[in-house]
């Protein structure tokens, strides 16, 4: 649809606008309905047509070029064969090349620049694609195992991308500056390994537990200097550290949300509750990526299972398994799961606590003791999911449900693990940070240490000063804190903060190393990550690889089939593996603030995992039986990741906000809170006004309203979303009803077509129904016309306007409007059947199906209908004629005539029908009449030149549309009088008319003229003519005058030669011309047709009888008109009368021209009908 909007941007010239409009429609049609062959053909024509556009108008040329460019840009989305695409592309390019030069230079440059840009971007894209990692590997996996397994790797790759960015952020803004410009290793206390640890600093187990040199490295928070500005450029490392730490979270959030939004856009409709269980299972089940026989086999089996499942579910699953047992089993299972969750959490907490105690009690820790926390956590994360799976078998859930349960449980487990770990750690941190202030000795120590360290003098001085000042500050603060701590940590001798320095010195020095709780947390997280990696690798090797080996090579020498029974090959459990990735990422987020290199480590880890996993999958795994739905689960994974991110961010934020940073290490040492760095920077390094502004902004005065605003915004957006959802639903309902209505009508029409005589009866109910069904149907129907009809509509409208101005009368218009509302529906109904009959043009609309199409159709309808409706009211026949006329122009005069006849029939169908009914005298049955008509048609064809049926059809259609609305309503509304008299007849006539209109369309055009030829059958045709004449009919004399053969002939000639409205009108038919003339003439005579009509309508009832007396034909007409007086119908009747007169006249002329004959025949018919009517009356 984007293509659609493009052309809208541009000049507002009507010409170009119209053209654009056209191209828009073309495009949309191509995209949505181009799959039909005939449409392809038409679009081909359009292309040629576009080529032909060769005007020198730069604007037009520009439009053309724009259009061609659109083609070029969108050609790849067209469902054409490549050969055609290439051809069209070439043509479009040539045109663009050819014309672009003619445009102004700036435009040429612009386009040249755009071209260059496009080429560049393409080259860039080609290059970028080369660097997408593991593309081939993933494709290989995809082709083996399908999209499910591949989704894991794609997810992994995506995480890898995120971690790369995080690594760059931390590396570029924290690690590198510290390495390059920070104080070198060993220069400050926080960067020096304590003497007593120096000996063991390089021991393997120290390194392994991330102590020793690693602890005092850029890996961890503690290493970073507290100097506000480092290097010659004055890089603010502490500030950068804080900002980057926050940016890591911000970036993760943004990227996650964006990805989720994109995903949900892709699966736009999946949110709807509609469920096509079987269809999806049939049409969307096969994974086209699968290329491995084994995978294909298992996929096939899975699909069969799936379908069987659905069948079973469909066939009313009567679960006979005793519910009590099942429920108790499930309760048991849940209890087990809860117990294991609680147990795992307790174990972790216990282990952390124990390690803490051990550290305090034992000077030397064993390797196990140092790593037991992470090992235990990793063990739990490995074992518990399998335990859950075992437990889940107890529950006997549907596999999909159990998978969900499994996922939820595992997620809870992972979260529980991480949380209990971090809580235990923070607990420890709590005790550590509370111990810190107890050591004023350290303070003096450190400050003196700092002073002695060789540093740039100025720096050292300043730092010293600041240290001292802060230390003074500290002392007072310490006192207060000590008071508080007294209660809990009485054992720690907090009371004598100032006096007991020496006593606590020992302890202080020891605690110094642990004081850096940030480093400690970072260490733990990194350790956890490493251990986790080791366990993953081990599990892959052991559980997958070794098992695979055993199964493969030992199955021969074992008493059961290893491959299909017990050990089997390892399954690749997508969901659990993805969860593990999420868990892993959670650890990273949790620890990233305390260990800036954690993302970098994770990048390495992910790379390793990628290779190892893909290798393992390809060599020793079989795909999971229960493949979690890929696309839906994509967002599911992301949602879990988001959840994880949020939960992992909380502890970090909590620690940042709640705890005082370590005093002797890290960039924030010496601050009360970590975030103080911001306010400090604002206060010291920004101009005064900024800090003022900041203080305002952060004051409740601003924050509260802002929060309120946010809430309101959320509420508002939610309300909008809800209403959109509602409209969505409504549109869907509408679409559905439309389609059903549509189909019904089609069927009815088809039935009617098959059984012409019987159909007449059937159609009537249909039409009525259609009226009831109303706008929806009408909306639908219009859409089909679009192509051909639109132009027709437009033309009538314009004419209508002109005519209106000439002839409108207030009362008329009012009436017309009133009727229009009702009429619109009815026409729509009639239109539908017509479309159906036409098959070809109608087909495309269903594809458009969407709301957009309906909208268009509506607009068109209104546009087209309203004017015609008014017209019809004013000049019933006019709109129809005009419409018909238009198309007719190209067509031969005969065609025009036919078209007119159509219009006439429809517009006046009811009346004409009456005539027809009368005709039956001759033919007995309408069907019979029809048949004769057909015959007539043939005859007419012989007599008249064959006209392109398509054109005729189009014109009649248009005419039909317009007239129909008028007819039914006016007839219904106004018919009352007539109807009362001839209700039955009228109905039958209507039916007849409808049936005729529908059936004949293609043929009818021809039929009518032939009818004209044949006096007897002409009656029906006459009716058409009568329609046209209707206006005239009122003023019989005028009409008669106009009806003169000479005029009619003139009109014919005019038709061909003239293209203008008048010409058209005249050309439309001799009859039409006459009618027009009549109309015009009456209008002139009476000044406005509307008036005349009104007058007529009012007068007619009265006059008609009078007229009848004077005119034999008019008598019947007057009778008919009397009933219709209010409506145009009266006019029509009158016209009929005129026709009769004409007929009389024309009789003489008939010999000359078939048309004349037709007129005459009409007249005859009319007379007959009138007579009949009169007789009826």
């Amino acid at each position: 649809m984007s293509t659609v909007s493009e052309p809208l941007v541009g000049s507002s010239r009507s010409l170009s606008a119209a053209k654009r409009h056209k191209s828009i429609r073309k495009n949309s049609r191509r995209i949505y309905s181009a799959y039909q062959d005939h449409q392809q053909g038409s679009s081909d024509d359009e292309d040629k047509e576009d080529e032909r556009v060769d005007s020198n108008d730069p604007e037009e040329m520009f439009q053309n070029i724009q259009y061609q460019k659109e083609i070029i840009a969108n050609i790849r989305t067209r469902p054409w064969p490549m050969r055609r695409k290439l051809k069209v592309l070439k043509q479009a390019r040539e045109i663009v090349l050819k014309y672009e030069g003619r445009l102004t230079r700036t435009r040429g440059y612009q386009t040249a620049g755009a071209d260059l840009l496009k080429k560049l971007s393409r080259v860039l894209y080609n290059i970028v694609v080369l660097f997408i990692p593991w593309e081939v590997r993933i494709k290989k996996i995809e082709s083996h195992f399908g999209s499910g397994v591949a989704s894991y790797f794609i997810f992994l790759r995506w995480l890898f991308g995120i971690n790369i960015v995080l690594t760059i952020m931390t590396g570029a803004f924290i690690v590198l500056p510290e390495l390059l410009a920070g104080a070198p290793f060993g220069t400050t206390r926080s960067k020096t390994i304590p003497k007593e640890h120096l000996a063991s600093a390089q021991d393997l187990d120290t390194i392994w537990s991330l102590g020793g040199y690693l602890q005092y490295s850029v890996l961890f928070y503690g290493y970073y200097g507290r100097v506000r500005k480092i290097g010659s450029a004055g890089y603010r490392l502490p500030l950068a550290y804080f900002l980057v730490g926050m940016a890591v979270f911000a970036y993760s959030f943004i990227i996650l949300l964006r990805k989720m939004a994109k995903n949900s856009r892709l699966s736009l409709a999946s949110a709807s509750d509609e469920n096509f269980t079987f269809c999806w299972r049939v049409f969307c089940a096969w994974d086209y990526l699968i290329g491995n026989p084994e995978a294909a086999e298992s996929k096939g089996a899975a699909i069969v299972n799936n379908i069987r499942e659905a069948i079973v579910e469909e066939q009313e699953k009567k679960k006979d398994t005793s519910l009590a047992v099942l429920i108790s089993l499930r309760i048991l299972a849940n209890i087990l799961v809860l117990l294991s969750l609680a147990g795992s959490i307790y174990i972790i907490y216990f282990v952390v606590d124990r390690s803490q105690k051990l550290e305090q009690e034992k000077p030397e820790l064993t390797l196990w003791e140092k790593n037991e926390v992470s090992v235990v956590v990793s063990l739990i994360t490995m074992i518990a999911p399998s335990a859950f799976e075992l437990v889940a078998q107890l529950e006997m859930y549907h596999p999909r449900t159990s998978l969900r349960f499994q996922l939820a449980r595992v997620l809870v487990l992972y979260l529980g693990n991480l949380y209990s770990l971090i809580i235990a750690l923070l607990d420890k941190v709590n005790s550590m940070s509370s111990a810190v202030p107890v050591n004023p000795g350290n303070w003096s120590d450190s400050s003196s240490f700092l002073a002695t360290i060789s540093q740039p003098e100025a720096d050292s001085l300043s730092t010293l000063v600041s240290d001292i000042s802060t230390s003074e500050h500290r002392n007072s603060a310490i006192a207060t804190i000590a008071m508080v701590l007294d209660v809990t940590n009485s054992g720690r001798s907090s009371s004598g903060t100032i006096s007991n320095q020496t006593a606590l010195f020992e302890k202080n020095t020891r605690s110094q190393q642990e004081q850096c709780w940030e480093t400690y947390v970072g260490q733990e997280m990194l350790k956890l990550s490493i251990i986790d990696m080791i366990f993953t690798v081990a599990s892959i090797l052991l559980i997958d690889f070794i098992r695979g080996l055993v199964v493969r090579y030992l199955s021969d020498c074992c008493c059961w089939d290893l491959e299909s029974k017990f050990p089997e090959y390892g399954e690749f459990k997508i969901a659990e593996n993805v969860l593990h990735l999420i868990y892993n990422q959670g650890m990273i987020w949790m620890g990233a603030f305390f260990s800036p290199c954690l993302p970098a480590f994770n990048v390495l880890k992910l790379i390793g995992l990628m290779y190892l996993r893909s290798w393992a999958v390809l060599t020793c795994n079989v795909p999971h039986q229960q493949v979690f739905r890929a696309s839906r689960s994509n967002n599911f994974y992301l949602a879990m990741l988001l959840f994880m991110l949020f939960l992992c961010m909380l502890p970090t934020i909590f620690a940042i906000v709640r705890y005082r940073p370590s005093q002797h290490c890290g960039p924030f040492s010496g601050q009360e809170k970590i975030y103080d760095i911001i306010s400090e920077t604002v206060a010291s390094d920004f101009p005064l006004w900024f800090s003022k502004v900041m203080s305002y902004v952060t004051s409740p005065v601003v924050v509260l309203p802002a929060l309120l605003l946010l809430f309101m915004l959320i509420y508002y957006l939610q309300a909008i979303a809800r209403s959109l959802k509602f409209t969505n639903n409504q549109l869907r309902m509408q679409l559905q009803t439309e389609r059903t209505d549509d189909k019904k009508k089609v069927f009815q029409m088809a039935a009617a077509r098959l059984q012409a005589p019987e159909a007449a009866g059937d159609k009537k109910p249909d039409q009525q129904e259609s009226d009831v069904t109303s706008q929806e149907a009408s909306i639908h129907t219009p859409s089909p016309r679009r192509n051909g009809s639109v132009t027709n509509f437009q033309s009538p409208v314009r004419r209508g306007n002109s005519i209106r101005t000439i002839a409108q009368s207030a009362s008329r218009t009012d009436l017309s409007r009133g009727s229009v509302a009702g009429s619109v529906r009815s026409p729509a109904v009639t239109v539908l059947p017509k479309h159906r009959l036409e098959h070809i043009p109608n087909r495309p609309p269903p594809f458009l199906g969407g709301p957009s199409s309906t909208c268009r159709s509506k607009s068109y309808h209104h546009m087209a209908y309203n004017p015609p409706a008014r017209y019809s009211d004013n000049i019933h026949s006019d709109p129809l004629y005009r419409k018909t006329i238009r198309p007719i122009h190209p067509v031969e005069a005969a065609g025009i005539i036919t078209a007119q006849s159509y219009g006439g029939r429809r517009g006046h169908t009811t009346r004409y029908v009456i005539v027809n009914e009368h005709e039956p005298r001759k033919k007995l049955l309408r069907s019979a009449t029809r048949i004769p008509r057909h015959y007539l048609m043939e005859e007419s064809a012989e007599i008249l030149e064959l006209y392109p049926r398509n054109i005729k059809r189009y014109t009649p259609r248009a005419a039909h549309y317009h007239p129909h609305p008028h007819r039914p309503h006016p007839s219904q509304q106004h018919l009352s009088e007539e109807e009362e008299e001839e209700v039955e007849e009228g109905k039958s006539r209507r039916r007849m008319s409808l049936g005729k209109a529908h059936r004949p369309r293609s043929l009818s055009d021809l039929h009518q003229p032939p009818h004209f030829y044949i006096g007897d059958r002409v009656e029906s045709h006459m009716s058409v003519a009568k329609d046209s004449h209707a206006a005239r009919g009122k003023y019989g004399a005028q009409e008669e005058d106009e009806e003169e053969d000479g005029e009619g002939e003139m009109d014919w000639g005019d038709l061909e030669s003239r293209s203008g409205f008048q010409a058209n009108v005249r050309a439309a038919d001799p009859l039409l011309v006459r009618t027009r003339r009549h109309i015009h003439s009456p209008g002139r005579h009476y000044q406005s047709p509307a008036r005349t009509r009104h007058v007529e309508s009012y007068v007619k009832p009265k006059t008609r009888p009078k007229l009848e007396t004077p005119l034999t034909e008019s008598d019947s007409a007057s009778l008919a008109s009397s009933s219709d007086q209010q409506n145009s119908s009266t006019d029509q009747y009158i016209q009929v009368i005129h026709n009769k007169e004409r007929y009389l006249k024309s009789d003489a002329k008939q010999g000359k021209l078939a048309k004349k004959k037709s007129k005459t025949s009409f007249d005859v018919n009319v007379t007959e009908s009138n007579d009949l009517v009169s007789s009826n009356v």
Binding site: Y35, W280, V282, Y288, I311
Partner: protein, 187 residues
């Protein structure tokens, strides 16, 4: 590619990139794959657009297709003659329409064509039956197949003509959660 014999001119490559969702490299790789199918038939030099078609029997041996139950239909759908003889253009077209980046609308159109076995622009029950039998390799009993066909039509048929028109199909597919991820072939 400098010293190698040129397979396509730059314009051709540009045109292919305009008409498909492929990059230059992918087009070349596609040519390689195409040529692999029938080395004796397909020349290395495509600069003059040779009129060569590879028959269906060869195309379906591609690993990407050989396990696909609808492989014959896919190839037939994309062949210009309707019998599965693919020119290189058709070949590129096929994988372009089925590639990951092609839009849902396009895929829907071709999916409909693929499942419309008798090419009457409707998916009738017979089409559904064939689809099912291919999908399940005849593992379902006829009763089950009938049931599934009826149910599927019942679900998706909005207009009650007991067959699926394109609009029905499109409506159904547009709501399918894994159509996009499943209906594509990587190459």
């Amino acid at each position: 590619m400098g010293n190698k014999q040129t397979t396509f001119t730059d314009e051709q490559l540009e045109a292919y990139q305009d008409c498909t969702f492929f990059t230059r490299k992918e087009v070349l790789r596609l040519h390689g794959r195409y040529r692999e199918l029938a080395p004796h038939l397909v020349p290395l030099d495509f600069t003059n657009n040779p009129d060569i078609k590879v028959p269906l029997t060869l195309i379906v041996t591609m690993p990407e297709l050989k396990e696909n139950p609808f492989r014959d239909r896919i190839v037939e759908t994309f062949s210009e003659d309707g019998h599965g003889n693919l020119s290189f253009n058709d070949f590129v077209d096929m994988f372009s329409a089925l590639c990951e980046t092609s839009p849902r609308e396009l895929k829907t159109i071709y999916a409909f064509k693929i499942y419309d076995f008798n090419r009457d622009n409707f998916i009738c029950k017979e089409d559904l039956r064939k689809t099912l039998n291919k999908l399940t390799k005849g593992e379902l009993t006829p009763e089950e197949v009938t049931l599934v066909c009826d149910k599927a039509v019942e679900e998706a048929d909005l207009d009650g003509d007991s067959k699926l028109s394109f609009s029905d199909f499109e409506n159904m597919i547009s709501k399918a959660p894994d159509f996009l991820s499943n209906f594509h072939i990587r190459i």
